[in-house]
Symmetry: C2
Subunit: 138 residues, 2 copies
Amino acid sequence: MSDGVQAFLTEWHRIVSEKDLAALPSMLAEDISMGAPPYWAKLQGRDLVRHLLGLVIHTIEDFTYQREWLDGNELALEFTGHVGEVDLQGIDLITLDEHFAIRNLDVLMRPVNGVIRLRETIAPQMAEYLSRGGGSVA
Amino acid sequence: MSDGVQAFLTEWHRIVSEKDLAALPSMLAEDISMGAPPYWAKLQGRDLVRHLLGLVIHTIEDFTYQREWLDGNELALEFTGHVGEVDLQGIDLITLDEHFAIRNLDVLMRPVNGVIRLRETIAPQMAEYLSRGGGSVA
């Protein structure tokens, strides 16, 4: 593993575990794209993705990273957690750019009712954010 | 990568690409467990999982493996495909046993409407199979 990937992972795990959202933007490329579990269309741009990730980090309880796979600048980080009584298993598929910032993040989760529960919690907050002029959806 | 993992991957890709379901059981441990996208409860046992995987392979169109991560006997295989006009991105998280057969397979997919479309197609066929006495759900 390169020093850059190692440094990324150490800081990423710290941010998620401490919910240090102020440090999140430095981990995201300005033109980051994100494939979220509910929708096919990618979310575009650092501000929008940062906002969504902040909501996710605060909504999934007992968020814990599990298995980890690394292949150059392509990372796969499995996680578990729950929303209320609904258990979740998910994976972050991360592509880092040459500065070790996230260029693309796809998040896949199971089961369906967990994704729907998460969406029900987060979608109104995202809609409120978007209505204030934040971000864009491709 | 060990020779056993390499041999597993070569045969797995062949089976999926040729839809060679007759060769599938030899890749699955007898006590395999599978976490499917729609449900939290794990499916248990070679016959049940083989049947479900057969339905999946025949239902997802243009099923194509993409990125691949390997870490000892833990594999993560990303795929894309579609069900009708609904695009899918998914990942197979595979744990191999000491004989390089699948001991556990978790399948995570996005987006939600793709998983629901897949479930709508497959669930009736699985129910029909279970009503004939096939397999069990933990």
